[in-house]
Subunit: 300 residues, 2 copies
Amino acid sequence: MAASPHLVFAGSATLDMIFSVDALPVGAGKILPRRLVQAAHGMATSAAIAAARLGGRATLIARIGDDQNGDRFLADVEAEGVDCGQVRRFAGVPTPLSAVIVDKEGERLVVPYYDHGLGADPSWIPDALITSADAVQVDIRWPEAAARLLALARDAGKIGVLDGDIGPLEVLNELAGLASHSVFSEPAAKQLSGQDDVAAALMVLARGFPGFVAITAGAEGCYWFDKREVCHARPPSVVAVDTLAAGDVFHGAFTLALAEKRSIEDAVHFANAAAALKCTIFGGRLGSPDREAVEALLAR
Amino acid sequence: MAASPHLVFAGSATLDMIFSVDALPVGAGKILPRRLVQAAHGMATSAAIAAARLGGRATLIARIGDDQNGDRFLADVEAEGVDCGQVRRFAGVPTPLSAVIVDKEGERLVVPYYDHGLGADPSWIPDALITSADAVQVDIRWPEAAARLLALARDAGKIGVLDGDIGPLEVLNELAGLASHSVFSEPAAKQLSGQDDVAAALMVLARGFPGFVAITAGAEGCYWFDKREVCHARPPSVVAVDTLAAGDVFHGAFTLALAEKRSIEDAVHFANAAAALKCTIFGGRLGSPDREAVEALLAR
């Protein structure tokens, strides 16, 4: 087997406080949670960790503060074997922080805070890191870096994957125009396409962007556009206890499989299985599986 | 003027992450907050700080972890001039943490996490601290300590105030049976009395407990039972931007006024004004007013 691919992830880095509750809140008041887990998260961060657990070599490019939460973030991510040499710390700025509330069915509410003091300029990121990598994956929380890295990957003929979650539509449009592969969340795909139906949204987005387009739809799995057709693969059935970071695990596994030169269909099945396994464990990306577990589930 | 009274507060100590959002969440999904403030909170803690800002000498009895959040909690509370010599730290236990989401109208959702590793035993609290104080105030998050301190205060003929927020009914019943003054939140009062109407709830509670009974009802102010009558005082009208900790500020101000030997009516007006001023500032108890501001509002 060849050396494992080198993947670069850029974007969101947060310290998450994940509260386990019986039912999600529906307005003002007080709810007493049963559990609390604190861990480094963020879309790009969780995807990088997912890819590392699955056997990829992962580098994270991200922005955090120089506070105690930032120390904790770094310790968490480095412990997963992800290279954090390109995580830049900003003086006097709080590390992004998310409150996450997860109910008994695994559904979650996320409130992520990013400080404006995190510098947007991506010019310090070394070009060679991207051009020498096998694939790059970006999210939309740091658009300036995402655009620069996707353009660099495109010009170098590398895989450039966009994790297209909800955010400003002009940002999604710009980045999907640069990516070789755009994988949208269902809410983002519907917003961006103006369509209420997943298949219809997929058709609109596939016509609008030059690269491969897919949509992740939670327990329904993944829809993608291939050879003028809407394809669909449902994940293996599992008992979900926490869907937090399931999309991030999907993205990290998908990008790794692409970098391993697997077919789109194989990559989707691999990512579906990884994300499904994640949902069986409480604590967001802490439940991200290793390769053995994913392959065992796929072989079942 | 005599020396300012010495007040002892015992109970909840949390580090709060307060997110400012446009609208409170109504289910699963992601909402992007506009602001984040982190600060030491908890009912007893916020009340102690409120009393200190209003000129009282305040001691806090509470349990936190030996983690970085605990360091931050202590630094916050000590900076307010509250004596933290009786805040005990537990090894390997996370400091209690609350996620708080505040909407544009100042309404809030609170998710407070208390770890089971915080030891419940209150026997280390020195009796003399209570018997030498002018008043003690407890909340229901540490029932063992609350019961012990209220009993000590009662036996020494001191003021013992219960902050009766929602929680197990047997705890509320036991503590209200020991307190010289019980001030319930509206939801707790309704739950404990089985009554849907505030005045009816007050009648039931006043008959059931030996001491003074009152109910705080948000913007409606305070209801209390005096000389066989239901009394009611509305707070001064303000533009509320954040009601978080308004009840705690009310309790701290009320206990201070009692310890200053003011009448119940004066104490309620003083506490109403302090709580109303708090609501005009974002950031929970960070908006707790000083005495000058309260007296200016009352003189208006």
